[in-house]
């Protein structure tokens, strides 16, 4: 039993905690031995029956304080039984105090500490102690009124006090032991979770498409900073921009952290499958939404899908509730294309907009974390600041523009905790004239594109077969 007590906190961790705990247990044992020694010292006066009552009750309390706790740990005494037993012993102590002296009431202390310890609530110890003191005072007043003379303690009271204090010491030691054990458990769990989150972050980062692609006259750069280790923002490329069709998607799963990251992985997978089956962004988003509707408890996802037809320099856009992309070409325009986010309703169909992209144009896609980035006072960065920053840096290359935009946001937030994932993707069409491609060359070019990004060859891609037919119709 003492071994059990002694080793409650793990010895190999939290050395200071273990020493404190061992000190408390040691103190409790020494004071108990001292008390019994004083009581039984041969030179003591003849002990009246009351001192034996005191020692008996104190021993009972001490045994209960130590033994009850160990029986509970071993599963032999459930919490309810412990409390009933505690109530009975408190009653014995209380009644005995009327015969053996009011100092005996101090023996209630270790039991009250034990109740607080069991409930894991330190404040309960204080509440119970105050309530008990009040009750004792009340009984005293009542007895005084009816003329009952409670025996006053002398040296025997001291013995009971010492034993009670040792009990309190033990209870507190156990309380501390349990507390430290919990702290150790939390520390271990936190370390384990941190390690898992680090791995999850690495996996998510490795699954993200390349952050920069330059092909011919088209270049793209993207950056995503999750609010936590992993996030729900994503971007995706459907190969390939130059000399053929190139799809770009950006999305934001509602929420943050692991739940958002898991949902994001599902959305990306569904999107990749659907994007390869269809060409038109509106159809693709419709299909992704239908697929997500089939998933139970799937949250909301905003997503924008655009693809470039380089033969006509046309951008085709469909939007499922995502931030409107910004077209930058000396002046600034927004593609104001509303749409219900994915995962909200299964009867939604998406509109699609087409627009010519002139050389020297940049298209900025971003998630709401950009405009809703907050400083320490809760002020949002906002659309205006973002638009102003884009205008200031419109002549930069995509990667450089990302650098300055993220710096602007960082300067604004001044180190305040990031409340949402932040993602920006910039597509730029250089001023140099693009190479003309005949529709007949598309198949071969697309093969080259897929080969260059190490993806599945087009024989297994229904989208590409469809693409050839559709592309002829466009021209």
């Amino acid at each position: 039993m003492l071994d059990d007590l002694w080793n409650t906190p793990k010895k190999n961790k939290g050395l200071t905690d273990v020493r404190l705990y061992q000190l408390a247990v040691g103190l409790a044992i020494v004071t108990t031995l001292l008390a019994v020694g004083i009581a039984l010292f041969p030179g003591n006066k003849t002990t009246p029956w009351t001192i034996w009552l005191q020692i008996g009750v104190a021993g009972l309390v001490f045994a209960f304080t130590v033994g009850g706790d160990n029986l509970t740990k071993q599963g032999k005494l459930d919490s309810r039984s412990w409390l009933i037993l505690a109530g009975i012993i408190c009653t014995i102590v209380f009644i005995s105090s009327f015969f053996a002296g009011d100092y005996l009431n101090i023996l209630l202390a270790p039991i009250l500490v034990g109740v607080g310890q069991r409930r894991g609530d330190g404040r309960l110890i204080i509440y119970l102690s105050l309530s008990t003191a009040g009750l004792i005072l009340l009984v005293h007043i009542l007895f005084l009124l009816v003329g009952w003379q409670i025996p006053q303690s002398d040296e025997q009271g001291t013995i009971a006090s010492i034993i009670a204090l040792s009990g309190v010491g033990l209870s507190l030691a156990t309380f501390l032991g349990t507390h430290f054990k919990l702290v150790e458990t939390y520390r271990e769990e936190a370390a384990s979770k941190a390690s898992e989150m680090e791995v999850a972050h690495d996996i998510q980062t490795s699954l993200m498409p390349p952050s920069e692609i330059v092909t011919g006259n088209w270049s793209m750069a993207a950056r995503s900073i999750p609010a936590r280790d992993v996030g729900g923002d994503f971007y995706e490329y459907i190969p390939y921009l130059d000399k053929g069709i190139g799809g770009i998607a950006i999305g934001d799963v509602a929420g943050k952290g692991i739940p958002a990251a898991l949902q994001m992985a599902v959305v990306r997978t569904v999107f990749r499958i659907e994007a390869r089956r269809r060409i038109f962004p509106a159809e693709t988003l419709y299909s992704v939404n239908m697929a997500l509707q089939a998933e139970r408890s799937f949250g909301m996802v905003t997503m924008l899908y655009a693809f470039v037809d380089p033969a006509t320099s046309t951008l085709h856009v469909a939007n499922a509730g995502h931030n409107f992309p910004i077209i930058l070409n000396g002046k600034m325009d927004e593609v104001r294309l509303p749409g219900l986010p994915l995962g909200i309703d299964d009867s939604v169909e998406y509109d699609e907009r087409q627009m010519k992209i002139a050389p020297g144009t940049s298209v900025i896609f971003y998630t709401d974390g950009v405009v809703e980035a907050m400083d320490a006072n809760g002020e949002m960065y906002g659309f205006e600041n973002f638009r102003d920053a884009i205008m200031r840096y419109q002549n930069l290359e995509p990667r450089d523009m990302l650098d300055v935009l993220f710096k602007e946001i960082s300067d604004f937030t001044q180190g305040a905790a990031q409340s949402d994932d932040i993602t920006v993707l910039i597509l730029q069409y250089a001023r140099v004239e693009s190479e003309e491609i005949s529709p007949e060359d598309y198949g071969q070019k697309v093969d080259e594109m897929f080969a260059s990004v190490n993806r599945v060859p087009h024989e297994e891609e229904p989208m590409l077969e469809g693409f050839e037919e559709e592309s002829v119709n466009w021209i």
Binding site: A254, M300, T302, G321, N323, L340, E372, F383
Partner: protein
């Protein structure tokens, strides 16, 4: 409670008292859905921030209400949230109205 609900002449006015609409307060708003009458007005006057979970819950609420033939209006919406509502197509289901236009409905 994050909401104050007023009932008028076939009109329900739901004042959102929280400064942010998140998953928790959005659940309260959703729960208030069964108190909606023919016309419901959501007052965003105190709202400074709506996160994605809040938007999601609001969208589900307004779409469901519209499917039941109810009319919804939003009042006191900030410029920022007006834009967010536009992006997610919320305005199709819940147009933004002027508070002054809604008050007579409550009194009539």
């Amino acid at each position: 409670m994050a909401l104050k609900i007023e009932q008028g002449n076939d009109v329900t006015m739901i004042h959102i008292l929280n400064d942010s609409v998140d998953a928790v307060s959005a659940r309260e708003i959703s729960a208030a859905g069964n108190q909606m009458q023919g016309t419901t007005v959501l007052d965003f006057g105190s709202v400074l921030f709506i996160n994605s979970a809040g938007i999601s819950a609001l969208l589900k609420l307004v779409i469901e209400a519209r499917k039941q033939g109810k009319k919804l209006f939003a009042v006191n919406v900030t410029a920022h949230h007006r834009k967010v509502f536009e992006m997610v197509d919320m305005l199709r289901y819940m147009p933004i109205a002027k508070p002054d236009d809604m008050l007579p409905l409550m009194k009539s």
